[in-house]
Symmetry: C2
Subunit: 422 residues, 2 copies
């Protein structure tokens, strides 16, 4: 992509009302735009980045047998009344609205905006699951959730509107459920590893609600995290402070002295649902012996936008964003210094060559001062910066620099693809 062909303008200052580092930097770098507290638009670079995160998640969801679907945001009251979660004192982040009542435009029935989809997917599955032969089923989606958060000051870490990957599992019995639950655990570690957060992300024991002893969160250690964790570094696990007790320690065979208190961001969670939704909504199947049984469910979430915000918080430095390779919207920031014919020609050729070799490149073909170009390259956070100027060409070279290092090296013109390829 040529810089001149993308609408992108970096800013020295973030909006005054934006407190969170992740949103400040993403706004300054032109990745997102703030509509209001907790509501952001994804601009071209932001959407490419979000898409890369979603693609990594999607690939792993497909590997474990997930089937992708897309459920509606508008939620009729009916299913939620059955599960007992319609009232605002049960779910305190509902956004609700009303339909037109038909002729005369009187107000019709109340509707909710999806804050989660257990009710919807359980009701749908009643059409598809009748017998043990129809199970197990694993269905997931990337879909917008709306949560009416009274405080939304953490940028992409706590939004009122955000895309969520939510996977739901439908199993015949506890054992079949448990096997899949552990499969998702492993899948989630694979995802966070590929996203560049593997090292700092801990499987965290959290409250299982009324129908399970534990649920599990995937918490990435960062100072701005809203959760307090007790981390066991060598066992690579943590306990959410909300459930910390002597009993839990004993259960997990951990002693108090081994734990360190840290802050974390919940980048994913997996939750055994048991029959919490299948029973009130009537999702049953006939087992091998002809007996009617409720389906055993689980749910598994990752917020790609929250992951994006967490990556920013974790890697960014005082110069700007720093993206891991797999997530960066482009791999290379190609900076052309000067407008002489030889420089333009060499830069155009390098751009064509990288593009042909499927190496993502943002080509800064503007006529601006080198200092401005370098500051932009740092702020945008692409993994590699390549500079072409009269001076580098005198050495028949490009200058190559990694975002996270200050060292530069000269690369011969014909070595460019090799130096930047996998």
């Amino acid at each position: 992509m040529r810089r001149s062909q993308i609408f992108l303008r970096t800013r020295k200052e973030a909006p005054a009302d934006e407190e969170a580092k992740n949103a400040q930097l993403l706004i300054r770098a032109g990745y997102i735009h703030k509509e209001m507290a907790g509501v952001y638009d994804y601009l071209p670079l932001g959407l490419i980045t979000l898409g890369k995160i979603m693609d990594i998640i999607r690939q792993v969801m497909n590997e474990i047998g997930g089937q992708e679907l897309f459920l509606s945001a508008l939620q009729p009251k009916e299913n939620w009344a059955r599960s007992g979660r319609w009232h605002d004192d049960v779910i305190d982040v509902w956004f609700k609205t009303r339909t037109h009542g038909g002729q005369g435009f009187h107000m019709g029935p109340e509707l909710g905006l999806s804050n989660t989809h257990e009710e919807a997917i359980t009701a749908i599955m009643k059409n598809f699951v009748h017998s043990y032969k129809d199970l197990p089923v694993y269905a997931y989606q990337f879909q917008t959730k709306f949560r009416n958060e009274p405080r939304s000051k953490s940028g992409l870490l706590r939004c009122r509107e955000f895309i969520m990957k939510d996977l739901y599992s439908f199993s015949r019995n506890d054992q079949e459920h448990q096997e899949f639950y552990e499969k998702v655990q492993a899948a989630y570690f694979k995802i966070f590893e590929r996203l560049g957060l593997g090292k700092e992300t801990y499987l965290t024991f959290a409250s299982g609600g009324s129908f399970s002893q534990f649920s599990h969160e995937f918490q990435t250690i960062t100072d701005v995290g809203e959760d307090t964790l007790l981390v066991h570094e060598s066992k690579k696990l943590a306990i959410n402070k909300e459930i910390y007790s002597g009993k839990v320690l004993k259960e997990l065979q951990i002693s108090k002295e081994e734990l360190i208190e840290k802050k974390g961001v919940e980048v994913g969670n997996i939750f055994p649902l048991g029959t919490r939704f299948s029973e009130p909504l009537g999702l049953n199947y006939t087992d091998e012996a002809g007996k009617l049984r409720p389906v055993i469910m689980g749910c598994y979430g990752i917020g790609p936008g929250r992951v994006m915000g967490t990556i920013v918080e974790h890697f960014a430095d005082d110069k700007g964003l720093v993206w891991p390779e797999n997530v960066a919207p482009f791999r290379v920031y190609l900076a052309r210094l000067g407008n002489s014919k030889t420089v333009v020609q060499a830069a155009d050729e390098a751009y064509a060559l990288l593009t042909q070799n499927a190496i993502g490149v943002l080509y800064d073909d503007r006529s601006v001062r080198p200092g401005e170009m370098f500051a932009d390259a740092d702020l945008l956070g692409l993994p590699k910066r390549v500079v072409i100027s009269e001076r580098t060409l005198q050495n028949s070279s490009f200058e190559l620099k990694s975002r996270e290092s200050d060292d530069t090296q000269l690369i011969k013109l014909d070595q460019l693809v090799q130096a930047l390829g996998d």
Copy 2:
């Protein structure tokens, strides 16, 4: 995809309250699920189909220089108050809701759900467009629109919640705008051609609102269409009856006798916006002479879900769905009759071979009666059906049938890929 691995169950009957043929068939075939009037969920086959439609649109949008972004559904009142479209008597399909007011959970400010995004994108562009050098810009998205339709009885043709591709253009002057506007016209014809609707889709002159003589709709002729058109077949254009007059006929140099009245579904529209939004929202740029001017805008919509519904209405027959090649979720329905070792082996091999050759295939590996399998194959509407049975294997063959024909032919085992490839 193996039929046994996808949650899919066809139905003989659609829900009693579903009047529209497109939704009846898509529900019976397991492509979509109805949440309520005008609100549908996309199940795996439906989402693959929708994705193919979106990919065709996206590719053409990128070809004409569109940059993809993703704007929020929650709309703060501010921008809409400026354009004068906040009130329910100006836009009568608003869904509105309210934020939490913070501590104590009093109700906070009112919010709208996006029914369109002119206001939002215009406000965003104020951060990116300052000078003539920043123009033109073309930005588009696939995003959910919410429209509180009092009557939603046409299935995917008129939804209360639906994904829309909306492109917005920002130009320096009328000429630059007009050039792009015509480029989009051509791009839209290319899209509808690829979607299989080219022949039946007419460029239709419609009302331009207060700031332009005409806008242009792309209308696909079908009896269930909500619009009445006067079609000029040889000129491949139409006039929406809403604006039909002697003056318009003269303008377009058409005589009354050449026109035939038909029903159409509006599958796309393009609209010159002039300065309707740039002026009230203050989107100006400095021209070459240093003078401040309002940006000239256009908007360009296609609803992929409505397109999907229109394709169903247009092609379906009394046996079920009929998908054009480019839109079908899979190209081939591979039906295995019987469970003998030789049949299973031959079918498994055919499935592997087609998959290796990137020919999309839904492999019916269930043990059900041939009649049930054939009825499902017809209902699902994939372009080709391949049958493997003891009888076909005795001739070292598969049986091949196109969805829209009753003729079958025998294909030698080693000719399968050749017979089904492009």
